[in-house]
Each structure stands twice: as C-alpha cells, then as structure tokens.
C-alpha cells in the first residue's frame, strides 16, 4: 500500500466514515451529533485554508468571505428557487468558486503582507455588502425564515440523524478531495512555490496561475463548509463572513498543525470541544481559550499534530543512531 497513497487515503477515509456513521446506531447523543456537524463544516473551512497557508505559503486573512459566501448562496438558492438540495449545494459551491477566482485574480500578485490585508479588505467589503443589502440578505439579522431542507433520494435532512450522516459524508468526501489535490502534481508544485518561489519560477511554473488555482480551489471548499454551516443553523448570518470567523479558521490551522493534512481538522475539533467545555463551566471562555493557545503556541511552538510527528520522527532517528 505504500506505493499507492491514493488508495491508502481512500481506505482511511472510508474507515473513518464507517466509524462516524456507526456511532448513532450504538449510542444516540444529540450533543455529540451537533458537535460532528459543526466539526464537519469547520474542518472543511480550516483544511481549505491550509491549502493556502500550509501548502502554498499564502496567508489569507479573508478566507471567511468564502465560507459566508457559500452559506448565503446556498440559503438564498434554497429560499428563492425550487432547486433540489444537492443541486443548490453544488451551485452554491460553484458560485463561491467563481467569487474566489475573481478575488484571487486581483490579489494573488501582491506581496505576502499585502496579500493578507487585501484579502481581509475583500472579506470586510463582502461583510459590509451583506449588512447594507438588507432587501436580499436581511442585513445584520441574517437570512431568516429558515432554509427549507427539501427531501432528496428519500433523505430527509430535517431529522438530526440524517443531517449528521449527510454532513459526515460531505465532509469526508471534501477532505478526501482536498487530500488528493495536495498530494497531486499540482499540490507538489504549490509546495515548491512555498519553499522557493524563485526556483519554481525558474523551472517554468507560472507563479500567479498556480497561486490563483490554489486560491480558487480553497475558496470553493470553504464554500462547501459554508453550505454545511447554513444547513446546521438553517440560515446564514453576517458573522459567518466576519473577520473573527477567519481568525477561528487560522486558529484551527495553527492549533492542529500547519504541516499535517489532518492538522486543521484536529484543530477544529479541539477548538470546538474546548469552547463547548469551557462555556459550560465559565462565561470567561476567552480567558481560558487564550491561555490554552498561549501555552500551546509557546510550549509546543507548532500545532499539536506537527508536534506529535516531530516527536515520532525524533524517536525513529534516535533509534537508528543506536
């Protein structure tokens, strides 16, 4: 299996999916199912961001724009048209991808600091449009009235169990696709750009085209995360596209590990679990979260998964020395 990484990844994904889908048949817990649904949205969001941050070395502060875009596009499509749910979801992701292409076309040629801030400006512009375009988006109240969860293939997303299954399947497939992208030739090109853009350019890589490709793909997958988020909250809120939300994704990436594919997913889990646990105990969850981040950032100096891998590789190499 060592020679066929794609097969290995698919098997791991399948195993994870089977386990997640089997859990409700053994034990039903609404809190756990809600948690998985939220993780699935945020894992897609954070992992897509890591395609930019970790794989390509582009730090975007405005990734929340596409999360919010996906949520609003999906919500509006479901409310205003009679399209079936999967069609609306695919259309919403396609629209988000186009939006990412447009924003990316303007931003990718900028230097790294300015790239970060211009993407942030685009996100905040999008946020302002949501707030001020009240007739379409409901302004700061968000998209109200609920998103109709139309039945498809006998699948009823109004039931929590079905929503759980749907989100798990979509998230695992999305992550698998992202994994495939990051392991492909294109993904290797992106890593080369991250490590040495001059060498990449010298070898004939058109830098802006590769970066734009990464940005567009990342935006599309963030939009898919947004679709799941919109399904979960049955609406869309401006906060989805606000900048603290981009901050959460950056957090998840950094907390879990920038250099590991599953790092952002783990980070999303840690962040959400920590938040749930802390809010139950104290209202000052920012204080606790801040301290945890400070300790982990200064103590480990890298994400959790990256740290574990570092320890493992150290052990392996020390054994080899002996």
């Amino acid at each position: 299996m060592r020679e066929r990484p794609a097969l290995r990844d698919a098997l791991i994904a399948l195993a994870a999916l089977v386990v997640v889908l089997a859990i409700p048949f053994v034990h039903r817990s609404p809190a756990f199912e809600d948690f998985v649904i939220r993780v699935s949205a945020m894992a897609l969001f954070a992992t897509s961001l890591n395609l930019l941050v970790g794989t390509t070395g582009m730090v975007s502060f405005g990734h929340g724009m596409f999360y919010g875009f996906g949520a609003y596009a999906f919500g509006l499509l479901m409310q205003m048209t009679d399209l079936s749910l999967p069609v609306a979801a695919v259309l919403a992701v396609a629209m988000t991808t186009v939006a990412a292409l447009v924003v990316g076309a303007i931003c990718v040629r900028l230097g790294s600091d300015y790239f970060a801030f211009v993407t942030l400006a685009f996100q905040m512009l999008f946020y302002s449009v949501i707030i001020s375009w009240q007739s379409l988006t409901g302004g700061d109240q968000g998209l109200r009235g609920g998103i109709p969860r139309r039945e498809f293939f006998g699948f009823e997303l109004t039931s929590q169990l079905n929503l759980y299954q749907f989100c798990a399947v979509v998230a695992v497939l999305g992550l698998l696709a992202l994994r495939h992208i990051s392991e492909s030739r294109f993904g290797r090109t992106l890593r080369m750009i991250r490590d040495n853009e001059h060498r990449a350019a010298f070898l004939g890589v058109v830098l802006w085209r590769a970066r734009l490709g990464a940005f567009t793909l990342a935006g599309g997958f963030a939009g898919l995360g947004g679709v799941l988020a919109a399904l979960f909250v049955s609406g869309a809120y401006p906060e989805l596209a606000d900048w603290p939300n981009s901050g959460q994704a950056i957090f998840a990436v950094m907390l879990g590990g920038i250099g590991s594919f599953l790092g952002p997913t783990l980070g999303a889990m840690i962040l959400l679990a920590l938040n749930d646990a802390v809010t139950r105990v104290t209202e000052y969850h920012g204080l606790v979260l801040g301290l945890v981040i400070l300790v982990s950032a200064l103590g480990l100096r890298r994400g959790v998964l990256d740290y574990l891998r570092l320890i493992r590789s150290r052990r392996v190499s020390s054994r080899e020395v002996r």
Binding site: R38, A41, M42, V53, V59, I106, L110, G111, D113, Y114, A116, F117, V118, L120, A121, F122, M124, L125, Y127, S128, V129, I131, S132, W133, Q134, D140, A229, V233, Y237, E239, L240, D242, W243, P244, N245, G247, Q248, I250, F251, V253, M254, I258, L271, L272, N275, E283, Y284, H285, G286, L287, L289, G290, L291, I293, L294, A297, L298, R301
Partner: protein, 336 residues
C-alpha cells in the same frame, strides 16, 4: 460564529460613534433618511452648507487623529521589528480603562490620560519581553496566534475587573461648556483640544524620528537591525523602547477617546482593524503615511455617514483595495 464570541453585536462598529457629536445634536442632518444606504442628495446638500462641512470635518478629524495615534504605534513596531502587532487594539482598550479608574481615584483628567499612556507604555514593554520576543523571526501566523490569545485574555480580564457593561467616562468639567460655532458648524471645545494634542504628537513623533539620535537609531534599525546591533547599539533595549512608544500612544488614544465614546470590553477589536487599514494604506512602517491615511479614513467616515450611512465601512474597504491595487506598497511605503 460557531464559537459565538460574547461580544456586543449591538455596539457601534469602529469609531463611527464619534462621527455624530453626542451632544450637542447635529443640525439638519439629524433627519437624514436612515433606511437608505446611498444618499447622494444629502451628501450634496451637506457640501453646499459651510455648517455641515465644518461639523463633519471636525468629526472626521477626531476619528482620523485618534486612528493615527493607534496606527502610528502599529506602523512603528512593524517598521522596526517586522512584527504585525495584532494586540494593539488591546493597548487602546486598556488605556481607556486605566484612565477611567485613574480619573475615579485622582479626579484629574490630565493625570488620568497620563496614567493611561504610561501604564500602556509599561504594558507594551512587558508584552514585548514576555511574549513577542519569543517569536521574533518566526512565522507571522505564530505572532498572530500569540497576539490573538492576548486579545482574548484581556477582553475577559477587563470584564472581570471592570464588568461587562459599558462605562461612560464623562466629559472633563473644564470642557462642559457650550460648543464653538465656526461658520455655523458645531465644534465642541474638547474636540478641538483632542485634535490639537494629536497633531502635536504627530509633529513630535515626526521630528523625533528625523532629528534625534534615538530616532535615527530607530530608523537605522528598521533598515538593518544586524548592522545597528554590530555597531554597538543595544537592540534589545531599542525594541523595548519601540514597544513602549507604540503602547504609550495607543494608551493615550484610548484615554483621550474615553470621554467621547463609551468603554466596553472588545472595543479594541474594531479600532484594531481600522488602524491596520490605515497602516497598510499609508505604507507599512511610514509615520507620515499613517497620518495621511488616518486623516483620509477619518474624512471618509465623517462624510460617509451622511452619504452612505450603512455603507461607510464598505466605502473604506473599497478605498483600501483601490489604493493597494494602484500602489501595492501603500501611499508612502518603500517598494519591497
């Protein structure tokens, strides 16, 4: 959104609150149609009356000058240390709160402002030594992470110490006098003093950087810190001084702003993003650029509230995008 940070969503974003003088009531524009996001008619009408122009220019200047004080610290720290200080809004917030407490203890507004500024200068040094100095030269995201943790921690600490509710510091008694009327426009005397103080600081900062020995060392360190260090300058001390100046300026801005806008946990959040816009538009590392772009943003805010009451933020982002696309290094930035 899933984490729903417990921030008051109802609070006015940014310094918008300052654009309409709290007292006295603004003249005819008070009746402007709030439900429309674009109102060129009202904007045009404003430009035809001197009163409206004066009033809005004053509020724009206030916003711009306070922004400059915060952004000057951000740009100075970035220029010298290449650190994007995401915790700068926290300095601003704490400066306001310290001033609030100092006023309650001493009863003197001057002492309160000094306390706010000095406390934040000390806090800046502490922050630099204890946290930021550990991540020099590492990934910008690492710095972001540390700063964001500090923002979260201090937002909650403020809630614990001062309570989650809004605090009003109140206008100092010396300024509780009828406003000045310049060409029919309303200019509260406190605003005039605020603008004067900020302008004075801009001049002192500019001259200090260009004329004094310390200023020259700081500028040299911004270009080549290794060389400055090799020439025998204690760069550790220099970096701490830069953080002290940056923190002190932000604390000063917070303390000065406290009487004209209410204090609340999370108030640093919105000023942070605006001071970044200012820094980036002006060119990261340029004090003059920070001044010009802070005034630009202030004016967009001052007049934007009349023409685009709901889209002022959007307007600012459009300005930012337009400037960065035509001049990626910012108005006064050096080409990388």
């Amino acid at each position: 959104m899933f984490l729903s940070p417990a921030r008051g969503r109802g609070q006015v974003r940014g310094l918008q609150a300052l654009c309409v003088p709290p007292h006295p009531p603004s003249p005819p524009l008070g009746e402007r149609r709030k439900n429309r996001s674009m109102d060129f008619e009202a904007l045009g009408a404003c430009f035809t009356t001197a009163a409206c122009v004066v009033t809005q220019t004053t509020s724009g200047l206030i916003v711009g000058m306070l922004l400059f004080l915060v952004a000057a610290g951000v740009t100075l720290i970035f220029g010298v240390l290449k650190v994007v200080n995401f915790a700068h809004g926290t300095f601003y917030m704490l400066g306001g709160y310290v001033a609030y407490s100092a006023l309650n203890v001493t009863g003197s507004y001057t002492l309160a402002v000094l306390a706010g500024a000095l406390a934040m200068a000390a806090f800046g040094v502490l922050f630099e030594r204890a946290l930021i100095s550990r991540v020099y030269g590492s990934n910008v995201l690492m710095q972001l992470l540390i700063c964001y943790a500090v923002v979260l921690i201090f937002d909650d600490l403020v809630k614990i110490v001062w309570g989650p509710e809004f605090h009003a510091m109140g206008m100092p008694p010396a300024f509780q006098v009828p406003p000045l009327f310049i060409a029919g426009g309303v200019v509260p005397p406190f605003y005039a003093v605020l603008i004067a103080i900020a302008a004075l600081i801009a001049i002192v900062l500019g001259l200090g950087l260009s004329r004094t020995r310390l200023g020259k060392t700081v500028r040299a360190a911004a270009i080549n810190p290794q060389m400055v260090s090799a020439l025998g300058v204690n760069t550790t001390l220099l970096f701490a001084i830069v953080f002290a100046i940056g923190g002190g300026l932000a604390g000063l801005a917070g303390a000065l702003a406290a009487p004209v806008r209410s204090l609340s946990p999370g108030m640093g959040f919105s000023i942070l993003i605006e001071s970044f816009i200012v820094t980036v538009i002006g060119g990261m590392g340029s004090i003059a650029g920070a001044l010009v772009s802070a005034l630009l943003i202030g004016m967009v805010r001052g007049f934007g509230t009349i023409g685009f009451p709901k889209f002022t933020d959007g307007l600012i982002y459009i300005v930012m995008i337009a400037i960065l696309l035509t001049r990626p290094q910012g108005l006064f930035g050096r080409r990388q």
